[in-house]
Symmetry: C2
Subunit: 126 residues, 2 copies
Amino acid sequence: MTTFPGDEEMFEQPCPIRDVLDRIGDQWSLLILEALEPGPQRFNALMREIGDISKQMLSRTLKQLEQDGFITRTLYPEVPPRVEYALTPLGRSFLEPMQQLVAWADTHHHMIVAARARYQAIQEQT
Amino acid sequence: MTTFPGDEEMFEQPCPIRDVLDRIGDQWSLLILEALEPGPQRFNALMREIGDISKQMLSRTLKQLEQDGFITRTLYPEVPPRVEYALTPLGRSFLEPMQQLVAWADTHHHMIVAARARYQAIQEQT
DNA sequence: CAGGATCCTCACAGATACTG
DNA sequence: CAGTATCTGTGAGGATCCTG
């Protein structure tokens, strides 16, 4: 436990966008959200779909996303246990502006790569 | 130096969006880009505008943004030295989808905060 | 003025093991 | 099946000092 007593105060993030970027800027959140876009998924299904995520990180990230209201977690009291994660309307609405960004990334990525190559070339002609 | 010989291979990022998120997901890149939106700025002007960034992080982040073609760095060989940073067309075009996301964050942030409060409340009624 | 070099530290990811 | 607990290292970022 890294938390301490006064921790659950849920300190206000001064800047909304930072709050959002902290959530989706991490390695996995966006991947999970997009894996959930077609429909609800179970834990191990997400593991398989994402591929190289550890159980721990998947678990942590899902909990964060749930906390922030992007997804819901539904436990079906069966045996063996079944848990389904699904996008909330909030999570789904978030995906819209995000798709814009993804589209931008797709169309402009080659320019970034080119810029890096250019920069590197200049560095090398010392 | 943390780099090693084979480092400058500029390994391909398999996923464009990750490449972009890695750049703007960090604490400062977006802040800098938006600080540059009105027009070119000098190093110390950026320091003042952003407020709580260290020289080191500003320097590093600017270099990254320059490498990736989001901004240009222009050194005026005067004394004292003057360096101006400015958005490239690429950087400016990036700001458009980003504004969408910022707008989303602004309008939905209260829902995130509310979701957290709700989650916390449930946790406490153990 | 605009940074680079160095050192430090601490929060966070990965591995492993255990559980309802 | 769907997680939690603990332990540990690693690397990003801060502080400080130095330079063209």
